[in-house]
């Protein structure tokens, strides 16, 4: 067992683990909005199951974050009682579902990111993160299988379905830049071997996305400089609405349990 980090190192690790956990939590919450509304029962089940896996990842990560912080906060306190400025997910995860095609585009972009990140993080110097990544990546493979299969069907489908997913891709693409924008925290995690270099993750992600887009007959949008800093707690207006719904019960009835 590696010794638990303390001081500044613990503070960094805490924030980094929240970045990962919040991405899964917010995306899982978004996908949950589809329950009862998906275009077919199979997709209702599919999206709900992916949401469940993501919330499972978030539980493991937020529990770990709470232990690192060592202030007595567990997964529930971190999920239900933090303000939006203390959430550190990339803003792509909080973008609205839109139509089914737009949800699928967002899902492919994030599934491929999590796949390449977790594959590499399974050998993290942080044993706990390595275990969570190794466990989660097996599920993420099936998420990407599901989402990329749908993207190919929609992109290579009718003129109308192609136009809709291409438009969704254009709209969401700018947000992908943030996933790979390496800041000091990402750098220090990579230096310590806790996480992979984001440039390595990006190269693998990019190749995988190109192959999926080619099969889906979709055009890859051009990269543009990004202006989003969800990883630093600066979010789009959408996160507030997500938290209002997700946190309502715990804030109204503090400590309520099932």
């Amino acid at each position: 067992m590696s010794a638990a980090p303390s001081g500044a190192a613990a503070q960094d690790l805490f924030r980094f683990v929240l970045r990962l956990g919040d991405l899964s939590l917010v995306l899982g919450q978004r996908l949950g909005e589809w329950v009862g509304h998906a275009p077919a029962l199979e997709e209702d089940l599919g999206l709900a199951n992916v949401a469940l896996d993501l919330i499972g990842q978030a539980r493991l990560l937020l529990t770990y974050a709470g232990e690192i912080e060592a202030k007595g906060r567990g997964e529930d306190e971190l999920a239900f009682l933090r303000e939006h400025g203390d959430y550190f997910n990339a803003v792509l995860a909080e973008q609205p579902n839109g139509d089914f095609g737009r949800t699928i585009v967002r899902q492919v972009l994030i599934d491929a990111f999590q796949l390449e990140l977790y594959e590499r993080m399974a050998t993290s110097t942080d044993e706990r993160l390595a275990a969570i990544a190794a466990k989660s990546v097996k599920e993420v493979r099936y998420h990407l299988r599901y989402s990329s299969d749908w993207l190919v069907r929609l992109g290579d489908g009718t003129e109308a379905s192609n136009a809709r997913v291409q438009a969704a891709l254009e709209a969401l693409w700018p947000y992908t830049v943030e996933l790979f924008a390496e800041d000091e925290l990402d750098r220090s995690m990579a230096d310590r071997g806790v996480a992979p270099r984001l440039s390595d993750v990006q190269a693998a992600w990019s190749a995988r996305i190109d192959a999926i887009l080619a099969a889906a007959t979709l055009q890859r949008p051009k990269d543009r400089p990004h202006a989003w800093h969800g990883k630093r707690g600066q979010h789009s207006e959408h996160l507030g609405y997500i938290l209002a719904e997700m946190q309502h019960l715990q804030r109204t009835y503090p400590g309520a349990r099932w």
Binding site: L45, G46, N49, Q57, E119, E139, Y142
Partner: protein, 169 residues
């Protein structure tokens, strides 16, 4: 209340108790059949420790299983015990026992192909899945996800019956 577990062979007796705990989603199988029990050990202080692995990180059955294990051990008079979650190495469908695979098949769920699929196979491959009723391999996947994350939905083109396939992970 039944009698306490024998002090001699307490670990073996605990394994027997665990083998009687059914999976809440697939009651035809015990949690031992599914390979969810990773170890049973006696700590120096006499606490019996049971290591359990979740199949999927978000599987709601995980907590039910933990509670069932605690109930079963208490009822059997296991004495002081602790249930620990084991994440690493991650649970694999390869750990479903031979007996478990037979039971799955008899229950109408196609057991997972072995060995567990690689990344490339998950993303590209489609190994043929045989119908558990008529054994035809002329089947199609209807949905990647079924009633639980661990299964996908299939349909047999020969006998037209729907069935579930336990995914390899």
């Amino acid at each position: 209340m039944s009698a306490a577990l024998p002090a001699d062979g307490r670990v073996e007796a605990a394994w027997k108790v665990l083998a009687s705990v059914d999976d809440p989603e697939i009651p035809a199988l015990s949690i031992v059949d599914l390979g969810l029990v990773r170890f049973v050990a006696e700590r120096p202080d006499g606490t019996l420790e049971v290591g359990l692995s979740p199949t999927y990180v978000g599987c709601p059955a995980t907590e039910v299983i933990r509670e069932s294990v605690e109930t079963a051990l208490s009822k059997a008079g296991a004495g002081a015990f602790a249930v620990t979650q084991v994440l690493s190495p991650a649970w694999s469908s390869d750990w479903i026992t031979v007996d478990g695979r037979r039971k799955l098949d008899a229950y109408g769920i196609v057991p997972p192909d072995r060995p567990a699929a690689s990344l490339r196979e998950v993303l590209r491959g489609n190994r043929p899945v045989g119908c558990p009723r008529c054994r035809s391999t002329d089947t199609e996947c209807v949905s990647e996800f079924g009633s639980t994350p661990c299964k996908s939905l299939y349909r047999c083109r020969a006998c037209l019956e729907p069935f579930e396939y336990f995914k390899c992970i």
